[in-house]
């Protein structure tokens, strides 16, 4: 980069190191990073690698807000942050982060006022505030929510409001830290559309994100942090095709796993492919023909694929094998306010079975989990655990048979150390010490927390706190376990850990239900998938069929995994999730293997 470009840099970081108070290890070490105006730079890396700290350093929050020792310089639009006040940066840098709820200011009684708040602080004249807020509400499709209270909105809506409230301030630089980790796929796509629009309008974007499809699709440059240092840097293709990437705990875009699997079967592609569209293009270069040769079926880059309706799928309500342990028998539930959240749901689960429940936020998944766990009692129908109706027990008694890992670990955690937290419920049950120690050790081992046992849970990242609650539920040794969004915010190590846990629980004969928005995870690791939409079960089938039920997928508004998108491109019939079959199909369609 030449001198003139450097002078005009949006962000210029040299030799940045930072250590939090009371910490022995620096969170950032020797970071050098220059971001050009209008560039989109994504920061990736394992949890704890220093991504958020770097984002906060750019916003001036480190070290002015989160104190600590800082070396090196951070310049934003030519101004050294060491001199100015953190408040002054507001005009230059917009900052959005993970938690939707705490980003609502708490003073605005309407979404409209929420958007106007920042502009008022900037001293924008009222008429200009009105026109800018109106325009932003339209651009972000938030007009229907304008008069609602921000606190009454769902998490996804709040996050959109938070982003819009920053976008409306029109700062030239946006720092966005994991904006979608708590959101469902549809809202995630909507969020990225908004960020992309702002970027197209010339704004500089610095994004911290785990969703690699989005990172690969939008970024000009990807920075991989590991243990506080920049480990890799380059275009998305350069970084993701570097074999070291996964070693640093980063998940790859799904298309790259497909590409790799195809390469193992002899398809040597002429170039890199970061998305399914590119992968299909590469395969076509090898001579493969899509379905209905000539006009290739269009592959959307993200979200839902709407296809013509199919006959309704067969719904199986029986376990794939074995006697049922959990039976949900025609259960409906209406909240005291009169809102029905679950409508005539029936399903059964055997010991050792692991099923996934997918569907949009608000489809009734969490309510169903609470009905199984006994926190809620069915308005009609019955839930039976090992033949006993849950109405025979109190919620706490049911909980001894059905463990439930809440979506937000902070709802459950309160002990001073990880060890105390995991042991707490066991003490309350009055188990002897030897037994407690055995169970706690096993649970910590399985969740990878053995060397964190004396840490304070609130000092651990949210993604690790989730494993603390998982460990405390596993230690209860219940016959049934429910996991609510365990994949949210997890890095590669976390996902692999989760997979190992699910596998071990099945091996121990537990019935496990996992609620998740991560479709790739579902397609790879669950034999059976239940799709919910609008309070009901739409489909309950072996997973290899689930994602081919186009009408169901469209209605539930969930993503089709990359594998299915590729299969759809080359093959009209459903071939399950077998890579071998897909390779055969592609080979038959004329592609040359290397």
């Amino acid at each position: 980069m030449n001198d003139t470009a450097k002078a005009a840099a949006a962000i210029e970081i040299t030799g940045l190191s930072f250590t939090y108070p009371l910490s022995r290890h620096p969170a950032l070490r020797g970071i050098d990073l220059t971001v050009a105006p209008g560039e989109w730079v994504s920061i990736i890396g394992a949890n704890g690698a220093g991504k958020s700290t770097l984002a906060q350093a750019i916003r001036g929050l480190v070290p002015q807000f989160s104190k600590g020792e800082l070396d090196g310089t951070v310049r934003v639009r030519g101004r050294d942050l060491a001199g100015g006040s953190v408040g002054e940066l507001t005009a230059d840098v917009g900052y959005v982060f993970q938690n939707p709820f705490t980003q609502m200011t708490g003073v605005a009684t309407t979404v409209y006022a929420e958007l106007a708040y920042g502009l008022g602080n900037m001293g924008v004249p009222p008429e200009a505030i009105r026109s800018r807020v109106d325009a932003m509400l339209e651009a972000t499709n938030l007009v229907p929510l304008a008069a609602r209270s921000p606190f009454e909105l769902s998490g996804g809506q709040q996050q959109r409001v938070a982003l819009a409230s920053i976008l409306v301030m029109e700062q030239p630089i946006l720092v966005i830290d994991e904006p979608t980790s708590q959101l469902d796929p549809e809202t995630t796509a909507a969020m990225f559309e908004l960020i992309a629009t702002a970027h197209a309008a010339g704004r500089t974007v610095v994004l911290v994100e785990h969703k690699m499809e989005q990172v690969a699709r939008f970024s000009d440059r990807v920075i991989l942090l590991s243990d506080g240092e920049i480990a890799l840097s380059g275009t998305p293709a350069e970084v993701f095709s570097n074999p070291a990437c996964e070693r640093y705990g980063v998940r790859l875009p799904e298309a790259m796993y497909l590409e790799r699997a195809l390469e193992r079967r002899g398809f040597v592609l002429p170039g890199r492919a970061l998305s399914v569209t590119e992968l299909a293009g590469q395969l076509q270069k090898l001579g493969a023909h899509p379905v209905g040769a000539g006009e290739p079926a269009e592959i959307p880059d993200t979200t839902t694929v709407a296809k013509p309706a199919e006959p309704e799928p067969v719904i199986i309500r029986k376990p794939l094998n074995g006697e049922p342990l959990v039976e949900i028998d025609n259960v409906s539930f209406t909240y005291p306010g009169g809102v029905e959240a679950v409508h005539e749901v029936s399903l059964a689960l055997s010991a050792g079975e692991s099923v996934a429940i997918i569907g949009q936020n608000g489809a009734g998944k969490t309510t169903l989990a609470k009905l199984v766990n006994g926190l809620l009692r069915p308005s009609s129908g019955e839930v039976r655990i090992a033949g006993h109706a849950t109405t025979e027990w109190t919620a706490a008694e049911t909980a001894r048979r059905v463990g439930y890992v809440f979506q937000n670990p902070d709802d459950q955690i309160f002990n001073k150390t990880v060890l105390d937290e995991v042991e707490y419920a066991l003490r309350r049950l009055g188990l002897p010490e030897v037994e407690r120690k055995r169970r706690v050790d096993a649970a910590l081992e399985l969740t990878g927390l053995s060397d964190r046992r004396s840490a304070n849970p609130y000092d651990l990242p949210l993604s690790v706190r989730k494993f603390v609650t998982i460990a405390s539920v596993i230690a209860l040794d219940t016959a049934v376990l429910l996991f609510d969004e365990p994949t949210a915010g997890q890095d590669l190590a976390g996902l692999n850990r989760l997979i190992a846990i699910l596998r071990e629980l099945s091996r121990r004969g537990k019935a496990v239900v996992t609620i998740t928005h991560d479709m790739e995870f579902v397609s790879q690791h669950f034999a059976r998938t239940i799709v919910m939409a609008d309070r009901q079960v739409l489909a309950d089938t072996p997973t290899e069929r689930t994602f081919y039920l186009d009408a169901v997928i469209a209605k539930a508004m969930v993503n089709q995994p990359a594998f299915v998108q590729l299969t759809r491109h080359f093959c009209a019939s459903d071939i399950g999730l077998s890579m071998d079959k897909l390779a055969d199909v592609i080979a038959q369609s004329g592609a040359n293997t290397g």
Partner: protein
């Protein structure tokens, strides 16, 4: 440096709404759990302990004001909340909430203060009979021949004792559960505990180990 102070102020300032809301939430938690206590001063005691005397006093005043919707004269009793918040803030600030002997002393001070305030307000404003349940007992004691002053102090003590012991205990326990790192972020946090450098963690580096033989994440082709 001025910037740091202003941001620090923001943390203290934001303790006020949270403290007031905790007064309310803990009060209703005591109702949900059907406990025979109020617990509606936990929020301002906590705010005082973490934010200092001024934050504590403001939280106490607003806390009692907003949470006593069923008392038309909440504004009068709000001075009791303000006094408790103020004094807890001073105690925390001067290091009297560090270590059990000092904490017990502080609890005694808070109990004495809150008895004095509630008895004093009741006596000065209403001559001792403020129209709440406890003043009926007071009237009975006076009828039975006890002096008015003694009856007021005695009944106030009975009403305040257990509630204030628990209302001090809950914040003290929760502060004990807070990590050093979180405590450090609040204005008075460092005065509540001797903060230590965190222990050496074996390995901070992430390892993307696959979950054993077979398929880890994104392992198409093994099916």
């Amino acid at each position: 440096m001025t910037n740091k102070t202003s941001v620090f102020n923001l943390m203290g300032l934001l303790l006020i709404p949270v403290g007031v809301a905790l007064d309310f939430a803990l009060g209703s938690l005591a109702l949900t759990l059907k406990l025979p206590i109020f617990l509606d001063s936990v929020g301002h005691i906590l705010a005082g302990a973490l934010g200092g005397p001024v934050i504590g006093a403001v939280t106490g005043f607003l806390g009692v004001m907003t949470n006593s919707m069923f008392a038309a004269d909440a504004v009068v009793w709000a001075f009791q909340g303000a006094a408790i918040g103020l004094v807890v803030g001073l105690l925390a600030w001067t290091g009297l909430l560090k270590g059990w002997p000092k904490i017990i002393l502080s609890t005694v001070i808070v109990i004495v203060l809150s008895v004095a305030m509630s008895a004093g307000i009741s006596y000065v404003v209403y001559g001792g009979f403020d129209g709440y349940g406890i003043s009926a007992v007071r009237a009975a004691l006076v009828k039975a021949g006890m002096s008015l002053e003694l009856a007021i102090v005695l009944t106030s003590f009975v009403a305040e004792f257990i509630d204030k012991v628990l209302s001090m205990a809950v914040p003290v326990v929760v502060i004990g559960l807070m990590s050093d790192r979180l405590l450090l972020k609040f204005p008075v946090g460092p005065a509540l505990r001797d903060l230590e450098l965190e222990p050496e963690v074996p390995s901070a580096a992430p390892s993307a180990t696959t979950p054993g033989a077979g398929s880890g994440y994104g392992t198409y082709g093994d099916n």
